[in-house]
Amino acid sequence: MKTFVPTVVILLLLAPALRTRGQSATDPCTEGTSPQQLACAERELKAASDQLTRARAELYEDLEPRSRVKFRAAERLWLRYRKSNCAAEASIYEGGTIQPLVELRCTARVTRERAAELKAQSQTLSGTD
């Protein structure tokens, strides 16, 4: 009993530090229970996918035919990279309940980054936007 209480206190103090493992500082879905975090990550991915769809359509419109072909090829390879990268990032949680959450967060993050990359390309092409 004498050692039990300090152990609990130490564990409680360590809890926030342990929780940050696998989570990036910029990640928005780190609060609440696991199902809440999962739902939040799903919303994040949906928002990022919508952003990407818009950025893609806007850029595609401004491209010359020869660049359109190359853009489609790059998009296919980007999808494969995203899948493979997020499987690798989630791999330390192999078999754990948090694994799908980590993979989902990664997918949302990489999708946001791609949307920003395509938006920058659009701006390069059209100057002001």
């Binding site: 493992r21 401004d62 491209l63 660049s67 790059a74 390879l77 990279y81 493979s84 690798a88």
Partner: protein
């Protein structure tokens, strides 16, 4: 009368031409490599920037691989190969908009450097989480 109409149309077309081509005009931010000197110098500068980013990525990759078990390492390797294909294809695309121009190789190197820097930051974050 017809001559006058043709003349007016031609004048209008000439006036509208710059506006139409403005759509495809490239207005990228100027990179420090382009500050002064020739195109060849700027292209060399861009290429050196890419080489530096690649060297940094190699360092970060090896550091991360060093803290992973065999299964995780296999997944990292697979994702790195997929990333290389995406990077090359993406930068071929980005520079294709300058195809035939003297700036194309420089634009490709800028793209390779930028995407490689982003990948190094991504792997660095993974290393920080796992070490």
């Amino acid at each position: 009368m017809t001559t006058r109409l043709i003349f007016t149309c031609a004048l209008l077309a000439l006036l509208l031409l710059p506006a139409a081509s403005a759509k495809t005009q490239k207005e990228r931010p100027i990179h420090p490599c382009e500050g002064n000197g020739s195109q060849a110098e700027a292209t060399g500068c861009a290429h050196r920037e890419y080489l530096a980013a690649d060297a940094e990525l190699n360092k970060v990759y090896n550091r991360l691989a060093g803290v992973l078990n065999a299964d995780e390492k296999a997944l990292l390797k697979e994702s790195e190969l997929a990333w290389i294909k995406y990077r090359d294809s993406n930068c071929t695309f980005e520079s294709s908009q300058y195809a035939g121009g003297t700036m194309r190789p420089m634009i490709e190197s800028f793209c390779l450097a930028r995407v490689t820097q982003a990948r190094a930051a991504e792997l660095k974050e993974q290393y920080e989480l796992r070490k």
